[in-house]
């Protein structure tokens, strides 16, 4: 119900422009154009004066046009052809923007691997294998029936150097189908790896995070339909081009392309649901993401409680030499935004190690929320009157017994209500782990949005799941709190 209202509201308030005269990049002056942040279209348009460039994630581009936030968006023309744009009231205005070729990216030091890849490319191009393979893909994509059957799977031999490949979901070059990674570029790279004898791991990154990840050693190869530009070439060693591509400018029907009857609201809702969850078993991706979110949340809470207890113990030390540096550490941890801590841990502190994003996230959350928890614990402990300790001691209870039997139960009553809020904040905050190549619930919805270019269903679904998670956690802690609250009884 609420979802339907949101949908209706978001459909209203469009302004109409006459876009019929726009037929090339130069004509875009004076219009607003949505592009993927950091993409080559972004770089190109930034150099043209008078174009209002709106930089968004891949998943938001079509929605921006659909909702009237921008006049055009530029997406890959191959992809544009595959999507059922007419059903969403959109159409392709013109093609072949920045027609060019995509390359794989390597670290500058890694020229050996790069030349190995180049050698492979040259080999299949001269033998004609390349053309045959590309035709297969093109015809498969045109029919849109099932492109994934083409994916070339190869046996991974253990013991070899595993290549870590950073990708961004870009249909149809790299995408998930029935929860399996597939696409033209993935297929090509798999073939190369098989020939060269490398095991291969694909990791999903944001497009803008690929180059930092490459340079920090997190990944060995960028395979993300990346074009060679002067700017990028300063940091990345590009291979020879292996595929042609270009952008399509998409705008709303009626703004310049021939009008087609739009589907009704109910049909559109149903289509959206099918597209985002049912088709290609995308719900599986969401379910996996949810499991990752739950794992990270639980581990992070445990880590944060442990870190919090430790920091609290040190902070409350009577020795000044211990308590004041701890206070400083707590202040530092609380002074840095969580996302920045996460990125620092991933790209700087653990840059050279191959530790997974999940563990980096658990450590970052543990530290950051440990600092917050420790202060909650400290306030709770300090709120228990000194006299309670003394009464325990005077009766002959030892230090730990007094803590365990007298002080802790009383402190917990004061800690839990405050902690509840922090724990729920932590769970919601796990939604940023997508930045360090972890596919959690939020990232899963991003991936689906990048594929379907539809914002509505994935976001609503993700919100609902987070609400349920928070609510369950709150309920659990509330029950615990109720059990700890002392009750008088009849005797």
């Amino acid at each position: 119900m609420i979802a339907a209202i949101l949908w209706l509201v978001s459909c209203t308030g469009r302004k109409t422009h006459d876009l019929s005269g726009v037929n090339s990049v130069e004509d875009l002056k004076g219009y607003s154009v949505a592009v993927a942040m950091g993409s080559s279209y972004d770089l190109m348009l930034s150099e043209i004066d008078g174009v209002d460039v709106i930089r968004l994630g891949v998943g938001e581009l079509l929605v921006a046009v659909e909702k009237g936030r921008s006049d055009f968006c530029i997406i890959d023309q191959f992809q544009a052809r595959m999507l059922n744009l007419e059903s969403r009231g959109l159409g392709i205005k013109f093609n072949n923007i920045l027609k060019g070729t995509a390359c794989a990216g390597f670290r500058k030091e890694d020229s050996l691997l790069c030349s190995q890849f180049n050698g492979y490319l040259r080999g299949i191009m001269t033998s004609g294998e390349y053309d045959r393979w590309l035709d297969e893909w093109k015809s498969a994509s045109d029919s849109m029936a099932d492109a994934s059957f083409l994916i070339h799977k190869h046996e991974q031999k253990p013991g070899d150097r595993a290549l870590h490949v950073g990708i961004t979901i870009t249909y149809p070059y790299l995408f998930l189908k029935e929860n399996n990674l597939t696409g033209i570029e993935v297929d090509l790279f798999n073939r190369f790896c098989e020939k060269a004898g490398y095991p291969v791991n694909y990791e999903i990154y944001d497009f803008s995070a690929l180059i930092p990840a490459l340079n920090s050693g997190k990944i060995d190869v960028i395979l993300s339909h990346m074009r060679r530009t002067e700017e990028r070439a300063k940091q990345v060693l590009f291979s020879d081009a292996y595929i042609e591509g270009g952008g399509a400018a998409v705008c709303r029907i009626g703004d310049g392309v021939i009008s087609v009857e739009r589907a009704g609201l109910r049909e559109r809702l149903r289509d959206s649901f099918n597209n985002n969850l049912i088709a290609e078993q995308r719900w599986k991706l969401m379910a996996d993401g949810l499991w990752v979110t739950v794992q990270i949340s639980v581990l992070s809470i445990l880590a944060a409680v442990m870190a919090g207890v430790l920091l609290c113990r040190l902070r409350m030390s009577r020795r000044h030499m211990v308590s004041s540096p701890t206070g400083f550490v707590i202040d530092v941890l609380r002074g840095i935004p969580l996302l920045v801590i996460l990125m620092l841990m991933f790209y700087v502190i653990f840059a050279s190690s191959r530790i997974t994003g999940t563990w980096v996230a658990v450590m970052s959350f543990g530290l950051y929320y440990g600092a917050y928890f420790s202060e909650v614990f400290r306030t709770g402990m300090e709120s228990v009157d000194r006299g309670q300790w003394e009464a325990g001691f005077a009766l002959g209870l030892g230090k730990f017994q007094t803590f365990r039997k007298v002080v802790l139960p009383q402190a917990m009553m004061r800690i839990l209500p405050v902690l509840k809020g922090e724990v729920i904040a932590l769970i919601k905050m796990t939604s940023v782990v997508g930045y360090v190549a972890v596919v959690d619930l939020t990232k899963a919805s991003d991936i689906i949005r990048a594929r379907t270019l539809d914002a509505f269903f994935p976001l609503i679904l993700v919100s609902v799941v987070y609400i349920i998670l928070s609510w369950l956690t709150g309920l659990g802690l509330k029950t615990l709190e109720r059990q700890l609250t002392p009750k008088s009884r009849d005797l």
Partner: protein
């Protein structure tokens, strides 16, 4: 049973200074005794009590309990504390436990009692302190007096050999003091060894077998209640027992600030509930003595002492640098002396150069209670 030798306790102040609270305490507590510790505030009565079970760490000295030095690091202090109950000013009941659970926690944890056994004993003790029907309540639901009685019962549940009472009634409403004192009195009658810090003088006098008067970090005077209350030997004890308040002013020469002095006297009288009439009378006598009778052949020290217990007030004027009697050199018929005699009970000169004017309770025309 407990021997304290040369006990010293120095507190560090936040500013880095040192505050000596106990200088050199020596005392013994024998089985069956009820020892009360009294003295002016800030003399370390509570500190002494808290040193006995090492809630405060003494700076130096020896405390022996049944021949064991409790300050020795090899002594298990928790073992000692089980035999020494303590009742606090602020009760310190465990807020998260019912009254009965407060009583059973330690016997079950430390003495290995079974729950039923501990609860039965707990209920008996609550019966004894009159809280049988409050067993299932939380401490928050009890009045101050009930809390303190429950705290005493909690102490007894550990079957201590001695109980230390740290100002057990100071935090209570006046209406609730007597119910707590009645319980303590009951314990005293049963022969429980106790050590009590209290400001309830009448109670202390009734219940104690021996009284320690603490002043400036030492046991200043020690004796039976009769000795301390009826016939204190030392001046500070006497001042404390009679609750004497003093005012002192040194006047360098004849040209002192009379009206400034009047102001101070007025404030002193006000502070201790003496009315305007009394302060007028005191000011009048001051004026006659200082402006007529005292020769001022050097500085004059004026002291006013007021006993809250007897409501008697005395004024002393001491002339420095004189060998002559002042009253002898004053004309008996002089107007000033006649007026002073008229306003006071007696004017005497106990030693040469010192004139003492006594105003009895009757001449202090004001309400006392």
């Amino acid at each position: 049973m407990i021997k304290v030798k040369h006990l010293k306790k120095v507190f560090r102040t936040p500013g880095g200074g040192e505050l000596t609270v106990l200088r050199d305490i020596n005392c013994d507590i024998e089985k069956g005794e009820v020892i009360s510790i009294i003295g002016p505030s800030g003399t370390g009565k509570s500190t002494l009590l808290r040193c006995l079970n090492r809630l405060e760490e003494p700076t130096s000295g020896v405390i022996e309990v049944d021949g064991k030095d409790i300050l020795d690091s090899r002594t298990d202090i928790n073992q000692i504390r089980r035999k020494m109950g303590m009742v606090f000013q602020n009760f310190n009941l465990f807020e998260h436990l019912t009254i009965l659970d407060n009583l059973t926690l330690c016997p079950m944890t430390l003495l290995g009692r079974k729950r039923e056994e501990a609860e039965k004993r707990g209920m008996d003790l609550l019966e004894m302190v009159g809280l049988h029907d409050k067993a299932g309540c939380l401490p928050g639901e009890l009045s101050g007096g009930q809390k303190q009685r429950a705290a005493i019962a909690r102490c007894l549940a550990m079957e201590p050999e001695i109980i230390l009472f740290d100002e057990p009634t100071s935090a209570l409403d006046p209406t609730m003091v007597s119910e707590v004192l009645a319980v303590i009195r009951h314990l005293a009658n049963q022969g429980m060894t106790m050590c009590i810090v209290s400001h309830e003088m009448q109670f202390v006098r009734d219940v104690s077998t021996r009284i320690l008067f603490l002043n400036e970090g030492v046991v200043y005077e020690e004796g039976t209640p009769e000795q301390i209350f009826e016939n204190p030997q030392k001046p500070v004890t006497r001042a404390f027992i009679n609750r004497i308040r003093t005012f002192e002013s040194i006047l360098e020469n004849r040209h002192f600030d009379l009206y400034g002095l009047f102001g101070k006297i007025h404030m002193f009288c006000n502070k201790y509930g003496l009315g305007t009439k009394v302060s007028d009378k005191v000011e009048h006598i001051t004026e006659e003595m200082l402006c007529g009778i005292m020769p001022f052949c050097g500085p004059v020290t004026m002291t006013i002492e007021y006993s809250e217990k007897t409501s008697g007030l005395s004024m002393t004027f001491r002339q420095e640098n004189t060998l002559d009697s002042i009253l002898d050199n004053t004309d008996e018929d002089s107007l000033q002396l006649m007026m002073i005699r008229g306003m006071s009970n007696s004017v005497t000169e106990p030693e040469k150069g010192t004139v003492c004017v006594q105003l009895g309770a009757t001449s202090l025309n004001c309400t006392q209670y």
